[in-house]
C-alpha cells in the first residue's frame, strides 16, 4: 500500500496546531504574570530578563505538554500501525486520516505521540525524586552542619561513600530486574519516604509546641496524609487504592533519590555552617530556642535562595539521570515512551533511519536547558538583592 505524505510546511503547521492546549495554557499563565511582574516577587523578576523568560517559557511548555498529553498527541504512544514502520515524517495514516508528524519508529509507533507522552513520565519522576532527595538532604544536612563533631563526621563519610560511587555503577547494581525480588528497594524506599514525614512533624512540633490547638491539627494531617502515601508507596497497601506505584518505577525512584541526596546534603551542610555564625542564630540561642527550632525556622529559611537554584539544576540533572537509565535499558519497561528509552532504541538504528532519534533528544535537551536557564536567572536575581 502506498503511503501518502504531507510537505515540510504542513508538518510544522501540524505540530504547532497539535500543541494548541499548551499555547493556550502558556498564554493564560504568562501574559498575566508578565503584566503583574512587579508585584510577584522573585517569580515576577524572572520576567525581566530574556534568559529568565526563556527558562520559564520552556519549563511551562513541557509542564503543560505533560498535563495535556492525551489531547496533544494524535495517537496512542504504544499503538502500532504496521504499515507505518519506519515511515518518514509526514506520513498519513490511511485509516484515521491523522498524520505521523515526526514519522514512525521501528515498531511502527508514532514518534510525536511518544515524545509527548514521554514528557509525562519525566515530569512526574524527576521533580518528585528531586523533592525527596531535597527532604533527605535537608533533614540530614541540618544537624550535620549545626552540631558538627561526630554526627557530621559519620554523615559526611556516608555521603562521600555514595558520591564516590560512579552513578552508572550504582544504577547497574540498584536497578537490575533481579533486585526487585529482594527486599532492598523496599527497604530503601521505606527509609527515604520516612524523611518527609519526619521533616514535617519536627517542623510543626518545634514551631507550635506551646499551641496545642494548631499543633494537633497539623501533626495529625502530616501523619495521616504521610502515612497514607507511605503505605501506598512502600507496602502497596493503600486502603483506598489511589496511591500506588509499579515496582520498577519504585526502584528507579529509589535509585535516583539515593544518587542525588548526598549532593543536597553537602550543599545544605555547607550553607548551615555558614549561616550558624550569624547574629540572629546567636539571638535565638540566647532566647533558649531548641536546636531543631533554630535549624528549621531560623537557618533553613535563610538558606532558601541557593536551595531553590540547586533544586532547579537538580531537576535537570535528575532528568539526565533518568535518560541515562533509559539509555541503558534499566528499570523502565522496554516499550515505555520516556525519552531515554526512545533515544536508546533510535540510536541503535542511526545508520538506517535518523528521524526517530531527533525528537526525544531535542525534547530532553530543551527541558534541561529550560531548567538551567531558570536556575541561572534565579541566581542572578538573588545576587542583585
Amino acid at each position: 500500500m502506498q503511503i501518502e505524505y504531507v510537505g515540510a510546511f504542513q508538518i510544522i503547521v501540524g505540530v504547532l496546531v497539535r500543541f494548541w492546549p499548551v499555547w493556550l495554557a502558556l498564554a493564560v499563565v504568562m501574559v498575566p504574570s508578565y503584566v503583574a511582574r512587579r508585584r510577584l516577587g522573585l517569580y515576577g523578576q524572572l520576567y525581566d530578563s530574556g534568559v529568565g523568560l526563556a527558562g520559564v517559557g520552556i519549563c511551562l511548555f513541557w509542564l503543560f505538554t505533560a498535563v495535556f498529553s492525551a489531547t496533544v498527541s494524535p495517537f496512542d504512544p504504544l499503538a502500532q500501525i504496521p504499515v507505518m514502520k519506519d515511515a518518514l515524517p509526514g506520513a498519513i495514516d490511511a485509516n484515521s486520516g491523522q498524520v505521523y508528524l515526526f514519522g514512525g519508529d521501528k515498531l511502527a509507533r508514532d514518534v510525536f505521540s511518544r515524545m509527548v507522552f514521554g514528557s509525562r513520565i519525566v515530569l512526574i519522576i524527576a521533580p518528585a525524586a528531586t523533592g525527596f532527595a531535597l527532604m533527605v538532604g535537608i533533614t540530614l544536612g541540618l544537624p550535620a552542619g549545626y552540631y558538627g563533631g561526630k554526627i557530621d563526621s559519620i554523615l559526611s563519610f556516608l555521603a562521600n561513600l555514595v558520591l564516590a560511587f560512579p552513578v552508572i555503577l550504582l544504577f547497574y547494581l540498584l536497578v537490575t530486574p533481579g533486585i526487585m525480588d529482594t527486599p532492598i528497594p523496599y527497604g530503601l524506599a521505606g527509609v527515604f519516604f520516612l524523611f518527609p514525614i519526619v521533616f514535617f512533624s519536627v517542623l510543626f512540633w518545634t514551631r507550635y509546641k506551646n499551641r496545642p490547638d494548631r499543633l494537633y491539627i497539623l501533626l495529625g494531617l502530616t501523619l495521616v496524609i504521610g502515612g497514607w502515601v507511605y503505605a501506598g508507596l512502600v507496602f502497596d497497601a493503600d486502603p483506598l487504592d489511589i496511591v500506588s506505584i509499579a515496582p520498577n518505577q519504585l526502584n528507579i525512584f529509589v535509585a535516583v533519590v539515593f544518587a542525588s541526596s548526598p549532593g543536597v546534603f553537602r550543599i545544605v551542610r555547607g550553607l548551615v555552617m555558614d549561616i550558624k555564625t550569624r547574629d540572629y542564630v546567636a539571638a535565638a540561642q540566647t532566647r533558649g530556642e531548641s536546636p531543631w527550632y533554630i535549624m528549621l525556622w531560623e537557618i533553613l529559611p535563610n538558606a532558601r535562595g541557593p536551595l531553590i537554584v540547586d533544586a532547579c539544576l537538580r531537576i535537570g540533572y535528575t532528568t539526565i539521570l533518568l535518560g541515562t537509565l533509559g539509555y541503558f535499558g534499566l528499570g523502565l519497561a522496554p516499550e515505555s515512551p520516556d525519552w531515554g528509552t526512545a533515544i536508546k532504541d533510535a540510536s541503535r538504528l542511526l545508520r538506517q533511519t535518523i528521524h526517530p532519534a531527533l525528537p526525544p533528544t531535542i525534547a530532553l535537551m530543551s527541558f534541561v536547558l529550560g531548567l538551567n536557564l531558570l536556575a541561572d536567572s534565579l541566581r542572578e536575581q538573588s545576587m542583585k538583592d
Binding site: L161, A164, I179
Partner: protein
C-alpha cells in the same frame, strides 16, 4: 602536610573497603547468582543444576569468607572432586591454583572473569589503557577550549560576548552524552559523512575519522561546566583592587588579563577539572557503548549485564580509586596553587 596526606589515604582505604563490601553484597544477591549460573550454563539447565554449579564453584561459601578470599586475607580453596578426591582448579581458563593459597587483590590477583573466560587483569588493564587514550584526547580538547571560553566570557562581565558564551555553555551543560552523541552522529556521520559513527576500529588504530565523534561527544558536556566555573572565577578576579591598579597605571587591557588576572583566575577551575573526572567516568560508559569502543566503560557494562562478579568488582575498585584519587589531587593541588591556603 604529611599527616594530612596520611589521614586522607587512611580514609580512602576505609572508603574503598566499605564500597567493595557493598558491591560484593549486591552482586552476590540471590537473583544475581541465578543470573550468573544461567549465563554460564545452557538455557535448559534446571534449578538443581544451577544450584550444583554454584555449589561446586564455591559461590555458596560463607559471605565473609568469600570476601576475604577476594581481598586476599583468606586462603582460596581449590575444588575437591567428590569422585576421586583430587583437588582441581576452580576455573581452568584462568590458571587458578590447585592448592590453597592467599590470592586476592592484596596479592595482585583480581580474580577471574566468567564472561570473557580469562583473568580480570588481562581484560581490565588493556581496557583501561584504551580508555586512557580516549580520556587524554578528551582532556586535550576540553580543557583549553573551556578555559578559553571562560576567560573570554569573564573578562568583560555583562558584555555581548559574555552573554552569548554564557548561554552557549548553559546549553552545553544541558546536553548529556547520549543526546549530543546522537545529534553529532546524525549531523557528522549521516548527513555530512565526515566522521565514522562507530569507533570500533579505533582499537586497532586511532584516526581522525573514527575518533573525533567520541571525543567531541565526551568533551561537550564538560566544556560548559568548566567554562562557567572559569567565568565565575575570572569575574571575581577582575573586580579585585590589583586589577584596577594595573589598569590605572596604564597597562593595556590584554596585558592585564594575560599577566595579572589569568594566573589567579585559573586556580578554581583546576579543582573543577579534577572533580569532573567522576562524571567523565559515567560519560565514558555512555560514549563507549554508543560508539562501540572497547574500553573500560564497555567492559563495565558487559560485566554488569552478565553479573561477572570478579570483573565487576575490579571495575568498581578502579572507578572508586579514580574518584578518590582525583579528590585528593584536587585538594592537595588547590593548597599548592593557592599560597594563602598553603601558609595556613
Amino acid at each position: 602536610m604529611l599527616i594530612f596526606m596520611l589521614r586522607r589515604l587512611g580514609v580512602m582505604a576505609v572508603t574503598m573497603l566499605c564500597l567493595t563490601l557493598v558491591v560484593f553484597y549486591m552482586v552476590n544477591l540471590e537473583p544475581n547468582l541465578t543470573k550468573l549460573a544461567l549465563s554460564q550454563m545452557d538455557m535448559r539447565a534446571t534449578r538443581a543444576d544451577q544450584e550444583k554449579w554454584l555449589e561446586r564453584n564455591g559461590y555458596r561459601q560463607n559471605f565473609f569468607v568469600r570476601y576475604g578470599q577476594w581481598i586476599g586475607v583468606v586462603k582460596k580453596q581449590p575444588i575437591i572432586n567428590p569422585a576421586t578426591g583430587n583437588p582441581t582448579a576452580r576455573f581452568t581458563f584462568c590458571d587458578d591454583p590447585a592448592v590453597p593459597v592467599y590470592s586476592g587483590v592484596l596479592q595482585g590477583d583480581f580474580g577471574c572473569s566468567t564472561k570473557f573466560r580469562e583473568t580480570v587483569a588481562k581484560k581490565l588493564f588493556p581496557a583501561l589503557g584504551a580508555t586512557g587514550v580516549l580520556m587524554f584526547w578528551v582532556l586535550a580538547v576540553m580543557v583549553p577550549i573551556s578555559l578559553l571560553i571562560g576567560v573570554l566570557a569573564g573578562m568583560r562581565e555583562g558584555s555581548r560576548t559574555d552573554r552569548t558564551l554564557s548561554v552557549a555553555s548553559i546549553a552545553s551543560t544541558a546536553t548529556p552524552e547520549y543526546v549530543s552523541g546522537v545529534i553529532f552522529t546524525v549531523i557528522f556521520a549521516s548527513w555530512l559523512g565526515w566522521f565514522n559513527g562507530s569507533a570500533a576500529s579505533a582499537s586497532r588504530g586511532i584516526t581522525f575519522y573514527n575518533f573525533t565523534l567520541p571525543v567531541m561527544t565526551l568533551a561537550i558536556y564538560g566544556i560548559g561546566y568548566i567554562a562557567r566555573m572559569t567565568r565565575a572565577s575570572m569575574v571575581e578576579v577582575m573586580t579585585q583592587q590589583y586589577i584596577r591598579t594595573a589598569r590605572l597605571k596604564g597597562l593595556s587591557f590584554s596585558a592585564v588579563v594575560m599577566k595579572h588576572a589569568l594566573r589567579n583566575a585559573l586556580i578554581a577551575p583546576f579543582t573543577v577539572i579534577m572533580l569532573q573526572f567522576p562524571w567523565l567516568l559515567t560519560g565514558v560508559v555512555v560514549v563507549e557503548v554508543m560508539f562501540r569502543y572497547q574500553g573500560f566503560g564497555y567492559t563495565l557494562v558487559e560485566a554488569a549485564s552478565n553479573n561477572d562478579i570478579d570483573l565487576l568488582l575490579g571495575c568498581s575498585l578502579v572507578s572508586v580509586f579514580i574518584v578518590l584519587i582525583t579528590q585528593l589531587i584536587s585538594d592537595v593541588g588547590y593548597a599548592y596553587l593557592n599560597p594563602r591556603i598553603r601558609v595556613q
